[in-house]
């Protein structure tokens, strides 16, 4: 049995709102979360990324010659992004291990393949409580 799936109340509301409008999405989204929970239990995360590694990733890819990243980097500079990221890394650091904040991204067909969506989900993995807690969705249909 995989880890239990729990939700931050607002994330649950985002999921329910999506499923109210796009009922057909419910099964796929829950299956996605189920896979993430299963991977967490097995400590074999392939479909999610550890947010603690994001600054290291960005420092590797962001360079003046990396044109596809230049615009993105400029957005980071003007936003409060750095401050929020530091705060989040501090939260990750101060939580008692083993605890991780991870994110996953997927493409789903919508309305029988007539369209598609690319939601991102942020969740934390609590290996002591044997659960994942879904914190935030972005990019759900209708969101």
């Amino acid at each position: 049995m995989s880890y239990r799936i729990r939700f931050q109340r607002s994330a649950k509301a985002e999921l329910e709102q999506c499923c109210r409008v796009y009922a057909c999405m419910g099964g796929s989204l829950l299956a996605w979360l189920g896979t993430l929970a299963q991977e967490a239990e097995l400590h074999e995360e392939r479909l999610s990324f550890d947010i603690a590694n994001l600054p290291a990733y960005l420092s590797r890819v962001v360079s003046p010659i990396e044109s596809s990243w230049r615009a993105t980097w400029e957005r980071f500079q003007v936003a409060t992004w750095t401050e929020d990221m530091k705060a989040i890394l501090e939260i990750i650091k101060t939580r008692k291990p083993p605890w991780q904040l991870r994110a996953s991204w997927r493409v789903f067909p919508v309305l029988g393949g007539a369209s598609h969506c690319m939601p991102v989900v942020f969740f934390d993995v609590d290996h002591v409580g044997k659960q994942i807690v879904v914190r935030l969705f972005d990019g759900l249909p209708g969101q």
């Binding site: 239990r4 729990r6 939700f7 931050q8 109340r9 607002s10 994330a11 649950k12 896979t35 392939r46 479909l47 999610s48 990324f49 590694n53 994001l54 990733y57 960005l58 890819v61 993105t72 980097w73 957005r75 980071f76 936003a79 409060t80 992004w81 929020d84 990221m85 705060a87 989040i88 939260i91 904040l101 994110a103 996953s104 991204w105 997927r106 690319m118 991102v120 942020f122 934390d124 807690v133 914190r135 935030l136 972005d138 990019g139």
Partner: protein
Amino acid sequence: MVIALEKQKAKFRDAAAFEEFLQVFREALKDDAMPLVVSGNELLFAAISRESAQQLLADRISKRLAENPEMLSELRSRLESDDIVD
């Protein structure tokens, strides 16, 4: 999405066709490239290594955060909340 190929065996014409497909697929994966399986003009799927998958995820997630910086602020606030439900 990960599909266990063994479970898809019944969709092949016969065992030999399945084995032939596996052989081609393994060969394509060998160089850590991104093999694409297409049917006519339609892309059926692409396969990437675990390392490439992690890079792809980091890339997509970072760009999404850059497009919508308020998301990080919202995430921060939610991480500080203990309002957890089943």
